[in-house]
């Protein structure tokens, strides 16, 4: 927060961002070099290990976008949504159905996913004026469950494949993860970066600041004159569109849709990503998604069956020792350090602290 008003720490966070982006952009080449492969083979889409790792990172990027969209709703705006997975699943299914059953071109699918995201946001927003807090959690969970049930019904089997899910979805020429994985890698990387930058800007904007104020103290936000409904709606719409697009990329990459992503489990996974990375920090959500997916993969590779247990233990440790997540705890530390320095300074300059806050209610 200090950084925002004084701009003192800004360059540091930019450095982190730039290093991450450059690193991820260079990663396919670094991996190729580490494998002792000529760069040419990478471009020719030959190397299978590099290709596999690129695929893993594509999944990370897609999940990171899902996580950051959840963070905007839950962490930034304070809307306790337990149906967020539906935003993603809806986009996934829609993409699959539009490509497979209706044979839409990619650009039209993209438009469709955006519209679907808006539609979902409005669906959640309809109940907003009436329910708050835990009730909102239950209602959104209910809406998502209805969606889950719908896609599994036999009546919709020709479209959704009910319990089996959607398979055999045609791959568009432009974005074909098998023929040109490197392109898919860069497209999803660019997508994730773009979403991050847009979200950063949104949260720093007047609209985003009111979303934060709504989370902090909705009653006060209303009293000073904000109709908080519209700001919650704005957050839901932005998150709805991005999650829906992430779902679209998910389908394009796999290319299949498993009904699992429509269940509560997927939302809970998003919640875990936020907890690991730090709720309300944006970058934390993306880092959390990366950690979760990579840990899942490597632990199951190294430990096989017992990986789930180890994973669970690691979550518990993180929540115990980093209660605000990785990024959240890091920011608090930094604030602590800044406050400590100020205290130290005031001891030397002799400026007294005011009376201890006994009357604080």
């Amino acid at each position: 927060m200090n950084a925002q008003t004084t701009g003192r720490f800004a360059w540091k966070s930019h450095i982190g961002f730039i290093v991450t982006v450059v690193g991820l952009a260079a990663l396919p080449f670094i991996m190729a070099v580490m494998e002792g492969l000529p760069v040419g083979s990478l471009l020719a889409n030959d190397s299978s290990t590099a290709k596999f790792l690129q695929g893993l990172l594509v999944e990370v990027f897609i999940l990171a976008v899902f996580a950051i969209s959840y963070d905007l709703v839950l962490g930034v705006t304070g809307l306790l949504s337990f149906g967020h997975g539906m935003f993603f699943a809806f986009g996934s299914y829609l993409t699959g159905v539009l490509l497979k059953t209706f044979g839409w071109p990619l650009w039209a699918v993209l438009v469709g996913a955006v519209v679907a995201g808006l539609f979902n946001a409005l669906l959640f927003a309809v109940v907003l004026p009436r329910v708050k807090g835990i009730t909102f959690a239950l209602v959104t969970l209910g809406i998502a469950s209805v969606f889950d049930i719908l896609i599994r019904t036999q009546e919709l089997n020709p479209y959704t494949g009910s319990d089996v899910g959607l398979q055999g979805i045609p791959r568009p020429d432009f974005l074909n993860p098998v023929d040109d994985r490197l392109r898919f890698y860069y497209v999803t990387l660019a997508f994730a970066i773009l979403v991050y930058l847009i979200y950063k800007r949104f949260v720093d904007s007047p609209t985003g600041r009111v979303c934060v104020a709504t989370r902090e103290n909705e009653n006060r936000a209303l009293t000073i004159g904000f109709n908080t409904f519209y700001f919650k709606l704005a957050a839901l719409m932005v998150a709805g569109i991005t999650a829906s697009l992430a779902g679209m990329f998910n389908t394009l990459y796999k290319p299949l849709v498993s009904p699992e992503i429509a269940g509560l489990g997927f939302t809970v996974e998003g919640l875990l990503m936020l907890l690991i990375g730090g709720i309300g920090t944006l970058s934390g959500a993306m880092i959390g998604a990366a950690i979760l997916r990579l840990m899942e993969y490597y632990l199951s590779r190294w430990f096989g069956e017992s990986s789930a247990f180890i994973l669970g233990a690691i979550y518990v440790l993180i929540v115990m020792f980093l209660p605000y997540g990785i990024v959240g705890t890091w920011r608090l530390r930094r604030l602590d350090i800044a406050a400590g320095r100020q205290r130290l300074l005031s001891m030397f300059t002799g400026r007294q602290r005011e009376t201890p806050d006994e009357g604080k209610l």
Binding site: M1, Q4, P206, T207, V210, N217, T223, F226, E354, E358
Partner: protein
């Protein structure tokens, strides 16, 4: 004949069987400092909540500039010119003092749905915020999180947030509640200054009788949800019902209020 800016007609609020506000009709003159006093539980805060739209009355009306605002949504009251502070500090605790006030400034502007420009680029709000923080004496604390400010500073911030919207009527519910005694005169002087410079109307709930008697133009005494008496400070001081029912008791209460700070 001065104009009535805020008026209630037979206002009632029941919490179950308890009538917290029981048929209160009050007229507040524009440009006046109008104090509401009364013992703990008299219904002052509830009355304020009804005025500002934080809760809805069971029956009765609230009129602002002659217009019925009883059913006005809470967020609208700020836009028609009413600013409200809370007895129990009610801030955005994890935002800086600066951001607390800046939000209040932004609320009255037309940029609430600018979702692309960073908020700090809107200098008409940030400049105003700087001026207000200066005015309430929090300039040096601008970057500190509101929740970590000392209590006295939080009270000043409450006032700063109201000023952000530049209201015509300030509803101040015990603005000095819990403040150290030596800080009270400073804040009251500030409130008086703001009231006079902007020719604003102040409705004030305050327990400190010295303060109330010295700065009020008019006083309404509440007791068990009802208006016990109303008049100028001199009239109230001389009123026998008030003396026996309330002021006698309040003197002690006043002393208690001061003790922890002494």
């Amino acid at each position: 004949m001065p104009e009535t800016i805020l008026e209630t007609r037979d206002l009632r609020k029941a919490f179950g069987a308890l009538l917290a506000v029981d048929g209160v009709s009050v007229q507040v003159q524009a440009g006046a400092i109008h104090s509401i006093i009364g013992p703990n539980g008299a219904g002052k805060t509830t009355f304020f909540n009804l005025l500002s739209g934080n809760i809805r009355p069971t029956s009765g009306q609230v009129l602002y500039k002659g217009r019925d605002i009883t059913k006005l949504p809470l967020y609208r009251t700020a836009h028609i010119g009413m600013g409200r502070s809370f007895q129990i500090t009610n801030l955005f605790p994890n935002l800086t003092a600066f951001e607390n006030v800046r939000l209040a400034c932004q609320a009255m502007g037309r940029n609430n749905f600018s979702f692309w420009q960073p908020a700090r680029h809107f200098t008409r709000y940030t400049d105003r915020t700087v001026a207000i923080l200066e005015q309430v004496g929090l300039a040096e604390r601008a970057g500190q999180l509101a929740g970590t400010l000392p209590h006295g500073d939080q009270r000043k911030l409450e006032l700063g947030i109201i000023l952000g919207a530049d209201p015509e009527v300030l509803l101040l519910d015990e603005p000095t509640a819990g403040m150290a005694a030596e800080q009270v005169p400073e804040l009251m002087t500030l409130i008086q200054q703001i009231q006079q410079q902007g020719s604003k109307t102040v409705v004030l709930v305050e327990h400190n009788m010295n303060v109330v008697m010295s700065i009020s133009d008019r006083i309404t005494v509440m007791h068990q949800g009802q208006v016990l008496a109303e008049g100028t400070p001199a009239e109230i001081a001389a009123n026998e019902t008030v003396q026996s029912a309330y002021l006698g008791g309040l003197y002690e209460l006043d002393q208690q209020d001061r003790e922890p700070a002494a």
